[in-house]
């Protein structure tokens, strides 16, 4: 029976202590298909794929590749079996060129035993042609966009003879354009007989690209569906159980609200002496979500960093609750602004610290949380427990290290920590990037209720669905300038897209901008 399937995983179990990461999971993938594995964060998708790639050993279960039962003891073994994996966080060496990265570990050598660069470049050019994935072999990896980095990763796997390619959340960091290109790539690879397994929780993508779908929930298989015979709703309800489908955001309207965060004529010059922000002017009012929409790298990062005090501003003012904070320290600014950074691993938390230590960060030195020079643990622990409960952070205890949590739960730590601070202003960047549907909804609900309480929220998001879902107003940023203020009720995704790519600019903003 099994010989129809190129990957046949049966009864896979993997326990971490009492946590059943995988509990009798089955996965059957046919040759030459695009198979999506969907599920909440923490549903066991990544564990299952790590098992298939030999990074993790299952406690029970059997794996057959091409109908032959195997033990995949290491990634090397997996590669021998023709399995390749593209991780969510790319594993490339920034100082190396594209060709050097692709050939890493398999460098062609000349007669003297030295690396043969020309051969390397021609090899990369050849496989790049073969699979229709265009790259520039001599370019340094550090200069590439995220979409291209991913392409290099894919080529790296293919160059090692991968017939089965696993991609963990491949679209999480891509722009809509890059996503489309990636899907084209998938189709091309499918035509060449490659089997593709993608881990994702974006259902529209699953519907658009996959042939079959395996659904995981809480470590168990919830069934395998044929994409053409199902709908996003059916998948979602299988993934989430019963609490799906209800509208979950309530927006309370408020009149005469005061401005909280006022930014005027803010300009920032980057390290490369280019203007990163050009006379940005915007106001976030009480009880409002103002969203900055834009293609990544349009100046959002610089805007956030200037507000928080991590970037020198060239000119302009930043007022919080009527007070100029442009010259204040980060610590002082944090008395006005809560802040959720876009990259939670790098700046949002310390993965080596415990859950509790991460939750208390930022107000560890305030009010009742300290007693003189000491930490006041009774108060701290109370706060930590409250936050864990309120934000439904799934962890065995507050003493677990943050890295043992799933991405969605890590994000809940960051969001919980920041929303619990008694500030009137919240700056939040990509709050649900790489976060599963359940956690996303939860975070959205929390944001909306903060908004309804009167907090002014500056949201930075590249996810247009999120932008439309949450915003009261949309400010579109392009090349460091705000090119449009839009009302989400009056515009379409497409229109916002036009502004985002610079194809359209609101006239009055050009005049004001002065450039």
């Amino acid at each position: 029976m099994t010989d129809n399937y190129v990957v046949d995983m049966e009864n896979i179990c993997k326990y971490y202590g009492n946590v059943r990461a995988n509990d009798q999971v089955n996965l059957k993938v046919k040759k030459g298909e695009i198979h999506a594995i969907v599920g909440e964060n923490g549903a066991g998708k990544t564990t299952l794929m790590n098992i298939l790639y030999g990074l993790v050993q299952p406690d029970f279960g059997r794996i057959a590749i091409d109908g032959k039962e195997v033990i995949i003891s290491s990634p090397r073994k997996a590669i021998e079996l023709g399995i390749g994996m593209v991780h969510q966080h790319f594993k490339l060496i920034e100082d190396f060129t594209v060709a050097e990265n692709i050939c890493l570990g398999n460098e062609p050598v000349d007669k003297r035993g030295l690396i043969d660069k020309n051969k390397m470049i021609s090899f990369v050019t050849e496989i790049s042609k073969q699979f229709g994935l265009k790259v520039e072999p001599k370019k340094k990896v550090s200069s590439l966009s995220i979409g291209l980095l991913q392409r290099v990763e894919i080529l790296k796997s293919l160059s090692r003879g991968a017939d089965i390619l696993i991609l963990d959340e491949p679209t999480a960091v891509l722009t809509p354009m890059e996503c489309e290109e990636l899907f084209e790539t998938f189709k091309k690879m499918r035509e060449q007989g490659k089997t593709i397994i993608i881990i994702t929780h974006k259902l529209n993508e699953v519907m658009a690209i996959s042939d079959n779908i395996t659904i995981l929930s809480k470590g168990k298989t919830k069934g395998t569906l044929v994409t053409s015979e199902t709908s996003a709703d059916e998948i979602a309800s299988k993934m989430m159980g019963e609490n799906m489908g209800k509208p979950y955001l309530e927006r309370i309207h408020k009149e005469n609200s005061k401005p909280l965060l006022e930014i005027k004529d803010l300009s920032v010059i980057g390290e490369d002496n280019l203007e990163k922000l050009r006379k940005v002017t915007l106001t976030v009012k009480e009880g409002e979500i103002l969203t900055i929409a834009g293609v990544e790298g349009s100046g959002q990062t610089e805007l956030v960093e200037s507000i928080l005090g991590f970037r020198k501003i060239a000119s302009g003012t930043i007022n919080a609750e009527g007070i100029n904070i442009a010259d204040k320290s980060v610590k002082d600014r944090r008395n006005y602004c809560s802040f959720v950074p876009e990259d939670r691993i790098k700046t949002g938390l310390s993965v080596n610290a415990t859950v509790g230590e991460n939750i208390i960060g930022g107000y560890h030195s305030k009010g009742n949380f300290r007693k003189g020079m000491f930490m006041n643990f009774p108060t701290i622990n109370k706060k930590v427990h409250e936050t864990i409960d309120r934000y439904q952070i799934k962890t065995a205890s507050q003493y677990m290290s943050a890295q043992s949590l799933s991405g969605g739960n890590q994000q809940k730590i960051v969001v919980g920590r920041e929303l619990e601070q008694p500030n009137k202003i919240l700056v939040i960047a990509q709050p649900t990037r790489g976060v599963d549907i359940g956690s996303s909804r939860f975070i959205h609900t929390q944001l909306m209720s903060k908004r309804n309480e009167g907090v002014g929220i500056l949201l930075i998001s590249t996810d247009l669905d999120e932008v439309f879902l949450l915003s009261d107003r949309i400010a579109v940023m392009f090349e460091g300038k705000i090119v449009a203020f839009l009302n989400p009720k009056e515009v379409t995704h497409r229109e916002v897209g036009l502004y985002m790519t610079g194809a359209k600019v609101q006239e009055e903003l050009i005049r004001e901008g002065g450039n």
Partner: protein
């Protein structure tokens, strides 16, 4: 908890592997490694006097191990404990020799000044890094030589004891000496101060606001600064404490063992501290047993030298091997640990495949 077990396992495994490789070196030298290690052990622990001497040596090592732990925990690679120990030792010697004070004031003052001077010396690389971005590994390492050579100048010229055959000062006043705890040895009250310091450092990181901030900064400085923590100030403070602890190690050496400053007074206690801190995973309490382990090697190796043909430098060789085994992330120890873990689960899988599969 599990993480902690792994850390201990890796440290001990590194040590055992180093002993094995050291044994091979002994064999090549034409000696019997078992006899050699037995004599080392005997020298370190066989009599009460030996134990006392082992603990006496460990005293300095606890201080330098703590020094390293404090700095590294805050993410600052302080390779300069040796130099900080030298300046601290010099400060203790100067106070102990020249200040006409009664004992109950003289000894505390000498200890405080050795801490302060060691701490200020430790702050130099911290400030250099913050202001100019210099790599602390380079500056702390180089400042070791500055300290060793400068103190060597002092004891050879302005502070040289009249008629001394080598560079050394006069003896410190009796009131400046650390009380001996076990007669006939140099085991002194410095050991108690070292243990106390370890406990204080441990609780400092565990319970104080600053300690928490330093830990976060060490783990992820970018995150810490996003929280509003002043990472730079914390680095300066932690290097003051780190340098101060190494300085106290110097004071313990001058006021507890030598009673004077002798040129080249430390045989590398600061560098031992690096190994000890590393093995203890920068945990202040864990520093104590590892410091005693290395103290035993230092004092035992002298006996070994007497009983066999093996020079006492073997203990340095073993230490170097420990660092080698521990420092590279994909080291032999990690390989062995992973291998053991993996073999276990593969064995389980194989058993599953042979026996019935489906009784899960």
């Amino acid at each position: 908890m599990k993480q902690r077990q792994v850390v201990v396992f890796v440290s001990l495994l590194a040590f055992v592997l180093s002993l094995l490789v050291g044994g091979v070196l002994i064999l090549i030298n034409g000696d019997n490694p078992i006899v050699a290690y037995a004599s080392l052990l005997k020298g370190a622990f066989s009599t009460k006097d030996n134990v006392a001497n082992t603990l006496a040596t460990s005293t300095q090592l606890i201080f330098t191990g703590l020094s390293v732990a404090v700095a590294f925990k805050n993410g600052f690679a302080n390779i300069g404990a040796e130099g900080q120990l030298y300046v601290g030792a010099m400060a203790a010697a100067i106070i102990g020799i020249f200040f006409p004070l009664p004992g109950f004031m003289l000894l505390p003052l000498a200890l405080i000044m050795s801490f302060a001077i060691g701490g200020l010396y430790g702050m130099i690389p911290a400030i250099l890094k913050i202001k100019t971005g210099t790599n602390e590994v380079v500056t702390t390492l180089m400042l070791n030589y500055v300290a060793i050579l400068f103190t060597s100048y002092l004891v050879n010229y302005p502070l040289k004891a009249p008629g001394a055959p080598i560079g050394m000062t006069n003896n410190v006043q009796a009131g400046a000496k650390l009380p001996v705890l076990y007669h006939g040895t140099r085991f002194n009250a410095g050991f108690l101060i070292a243990v106390l310091a370890a406990i204080l450092v441990y609780f400092y990181f565990k319970n104080t606001v600053k300690g928490y901030e330093m830990r976060l900064s060490g783990q992820n400085s970018e995150f810490a600064s996003y929280l509003g923590i002043n990472v730079d100030n914390n680095i300066i403070l932690s290097m003051f404490i780190s340098g101060g602890l190494a300085g106290l190690g110097g004071a313990a050496l001058v006021l507890g063992i030598q009673y004077r400053f002798v040129q080249g007074i430390s045989p590398g206690y600061g560098f031992d501290g690096l190994t000890i801190g590393l093995m203890a995973n920068f945990n202040a309490l864990a520093v104590i047993p590892f410091a005693i382990l290395f103290g035993a090697m230092r004092s035992g190796s002298l006996t070994m030298e007497l009983l066999t043909n093996i020079p006492s430098e073997l203990s340095s060789v073993i230490q170097a091997l420990v660092i080698l085994f521990m420092s590279s992330e994909n080291s032999v120890t990690k390989y062995i640990k992973d291998l053991l873990e993996k073999r276990e689960s593969i064995k389980k899988q194989k058993m599953k495949m042979k026996g019935g599969v489906d009784h899960v």
